[in-house]
């Protein structure tokens, strides 16, 4: 149940629109319980086969959901990425040569913020993909264990190829983002010190915080928790996660104002 709890936590921390896009781990567990208690495999192979088909059907449904959501987000990211790049180019062309320095800085600050947020969202999508995959792997393992089936291995092989798990594209976008930030955006910081506090105040006032920072922190911590040594570890399990500065990250953990049931 540990993973179930962690998953629930993660879902609570995530964006509202993403909340029902995650794996319904609990439901699947219940289904497994039903299947295993009702149908010992030896007794009625045909019924068992149907039960398994049912289970697989549910899983496939989930996978379809993941895929759709993921590809939708991916498409959005591709568009936004291009837009951000164009914005950067525009601002650089427009202001860097002539024009007031402050306006240039303003624009760049905005772009900087947007790029960082964009990066954050992409990473969170990757996290989404990973958590759902982990959930699937776990639920399959449970299934095999409780019902003595052999579903896990072939099924997981198929899952590995699914769009929602082949995150290479998003990963590349993330890396590109990081490069952009490192090379283009942050080096421009140097002569801005005097207006930093000012800017800070302004930005705070109208910053549309998407909770990205909070989500990222939560995601990291959840990952750490999930990978702690568990009782059912086998050679399919992931090793514990060693997060450096994990105390620092823990201190960022912000309480959700409204508990979500």
């Amino acid at each position: 149940m540990k993973f179930g709890k962690r998953l629930k936590q993660q879902i609570e921390e995530t964006f509202p629109t993403w909340r029902d896009q995650f794996l319904c781990y609990k439901e699947l567990k219940k289904l497994i319980k039903l299947i295993s208690s009702a149908l010992p495999i030896a007794a009625e192979p045909t019924k068992y086969g149907k039960a398994e088909a049912e289970f697989v059907y549910m899983l496939n449904n989930k996978i379809d959901k993941f895929n759709t959501f993921y590809m939708e987000q991916e498409e959005d990211f591709i568009i936004r990425h291009k837009e951000l790049q164009q914005r950067i180019k525009r601002v650089m062309d427009k202001w860097s040569s002539n024009g007031s320095r402050t306006e240039y800085n303003d624009e760049m600050a905005k772009i900087r913020k947007d790029v960082v947020d964009f990066h954050g969202e992409m990473v969170l999508l990757e996290n989404y993909s990973n958590i759902n995959f982990t959930g699937l792997a776990k639920i399959l393992k449970k299934y095999d264990k409780r019902t003595g089936g052999l579903l896990r291995l072939p099924f997981i092989q198929k899952v590995l190829k699914q769009p929602f798990f082949t995150t290479d594209l998003v990963s590349n976008l993330v890396k590109e983002c990081e490069n952009t930030i490192d090379e283009v955006l942050f080096p421009i910081e140097e002569d801005k010190e005097e207006t930093k506090e000012q800017k800070g105040a302004i930005m705070v006032a109208r910053e549309p915080v998407k909770g990205i920072f909070r989500n990222t922190v939560a995601a990291l911590l959840t990952m750490e928790e999930i990978r702690r040594v568990s009782s059912t570890k086998d050679h399919f399990s992931l090793p514990p996660l060693n997060l450096s500065h994990s105390h620092l990250i823990h201190s960022f953990q912000l309480n959700s104002p409204i508990p979500i049931l």
């Binding site: 086969g49 697989v56 060693n242």
Partner: protein, 478 residues
């Protein structure tokens, strides 16, 4: 047949249906036949929970719960799942059909659907080889008993084309071709495409996606034992639910956009005078990409337009905005440092998460690969041993197994020593060790041990030296 009386009741029940999409009516009609076909249907106590969780597509299962029958055993679901299994067979057929018409992009998504375990072939549906045949028998048995399911959609006010489809397939059944037809559907791909083409009388709009939509419908209504809505299999194809009217959004097989494709899109849009003035049709023509439909372009254009306007107003996506209270509280930590520092911090944390995710994903891939390899070895060894048992006399067998056992202790020692670095609890070590021992004994392959060793080393590396993430990544990727 005993099912006959049930079917007549069902037919009368069918007339009460107003819409295929309405599942409520179905349940009342379903409850009657179930009492006749006892043993097949049984109550599933908890299934009520599931539909609330699921989408429209899974509504057929709701019917199961209202079936008043013997208690305790998981039931109706499973008989209906035989319908599902055949549905999913069909979904494997359809992507193939579509594939011939569509581009690599689109075929990617149906192919993905097809790659899901159920869709490839009847044998891959269920791991145990005996079961598919049972399932098939069940299916065909059920079809034989319920040929009049086809009446169902006829009475509902659905698109005329579909009605004709159903009627045509009804003819099929009346010719008692059920068995052969069912077999064809499940096994053969190419033969089927011609079958489908015969089946489809497209009076309705003849857009390609629509065709796919139509194709989906009849196939799902055929084999289902208990009036499964067409939506399950349709959803499998990621086709928009056809229970809505004919004019509604037709099939939209999910398309996976790439940056390159997007570049081409942007160029086309710019050529046409900007995102406002460009029309989907124009863009489609300019892009000249195979398999790209106007619906893809339309939706993409919409997204593109909203994305362009967002930076103008410098607002984030509204649904992701928190309330101002939350904003302030979450920013408290950051304001102390000034905005750029806050951004840097955010960036750092994000980078960290990203790296960890990459590592985790690679690890997961390797683990599964490992598992697959082990499985392969196991099967190879098993088949080898079987052959040995079959062909040879007794003396050879003990020799083979004793060799394996001799190798096993040394290998497991090696692995366990590596595992000790990894695991903290002795319980887990013993578990893993015994598992590996068993499998290595059975396999007796040396390669497996080295593979396992490699993986363990990788895991150990990952867990021990996480801070050096960059170095980590390069080593793992070797």
């Amino acid at each position: 047949m005993e099912a006959r009386p049930a079917l007549s009741i069902q037919r009368s029940g069918a007339s009460q249906l107003s819409n295929l999409g309405v599942s409520g009516g179905l349940s009342s009609s379903l409850s009657i036949p179930s009492t006749h076909l006892e043993g097949t249907y049984q109550k599933l106590p908890d299934i009520q929970q599931v539909p609330s969780e699921r989408e429209l597509t899974t509504r057929p299962q709701v019917h199961a719960t209202r079936v008043p029958t013997n208690n305790g055993v998981v039931g109706h679901i499973f008989s209906s799942s035989s319908g599902f299994s055949s549905d999913l067979h069909y979904s494997s057929v359809l992507p193939n059909e579509k594939h011939s018409r569509n581009s690599p992009f689109i075929s990617q998504s149906p192919a993905d659907t097809a790659s899901l375990p159920l869709s490839q072939s009847s044998s891959s549906l269920l791991p145990q080889p005996t079961i598919p045949s049972c399932c098939n028998k069940e299916n065909s048995g059920s079809w034989c008993t319920d040929p009049d399911f086809l009446d169902f959609p006829v009475s509902t006010p659905v698109q005329s084309g579909q009605v004709e489809n159903i009627q045509r397939s009804e003819d099929f059944s009346k010719q008692n071709d059920w068995q052969e037809w069912a077999d064809q559907l499940i096994t053969c791909d190419d033969a089927l495409t011609s079958n489908w083409n015969e089946l489809l009388v497209d009076n309705v709009t003849n857009l390609e996606p629509k065709m796919a939509c139509q194709v989906a419908k009849p196939c799902t209504t055929m084999p289902t034992q208990n009036q499964q809505l067409p939506s399950p299999s349709v959803e499998n194809l990621r086709v928009v639910n056809p229970s809505s009217s004919a004019n509604n959004a037709p099939a939209k097989p999910r398309m996976r956009w790439t940056p390159e494709l997007h570049e081409a899109f942007v160029e086309a849009v710019n050529q046409l005078g900007g995102s406002e003035r460009a029309t989907p049709k124009g863009v489609l023509k300019l892009m000249k990409v195979d398999g790209l439909t106007i619906y893809h372009v339309k939706s993409h254009l919409q997204k593109y337009r909203t994305a362009r306007y967002r930076p103008e107003s410098s607002e984030g996506s509204s649904e992701k905005k928190l309330t101002s209270m939350e904003e302030i509280s979450s920013l408290d930590l950051k304001t102390g440092m000034g905005i750029t520092e806050a951004l840097r911090l955010q960036m750092e944390v994000q980078k960290r998460l990203h790296e960890q995710l990459e590592i985790q994903r690679n690890l997961q891939l390797r683990i599964e690969e490992q598992g697959r390899y082990l499985q392969m070895m196991f099967e190879k060894q098993k088949s080898g041993l079987d052959k040995l048992k079959v062909s040879s006399s007794n003396p050879e067998n003990p020799a083979a197994t004793s060799d394996a056992t001799k190798e096993a202790p040394t290998k497991s020692e090696l692995e366990s020593s590596q595992r000790d670095h990894l695991d903290s609890g002795t319980g887990t070590v013993n578990n893993a060790k015994s598992m590996l021992e068993r499998s290595s004994r059975e396999m007796g392959g040396e390669d497996m041990a080295t593979e396992a060793g490699d993986l363990e080393k990788t895991k150990a590396r990952v867990s021990e030296t996480s801070p050096e993430l960059a170095a980590k990544r390069s080593r793992i990727e070797e």
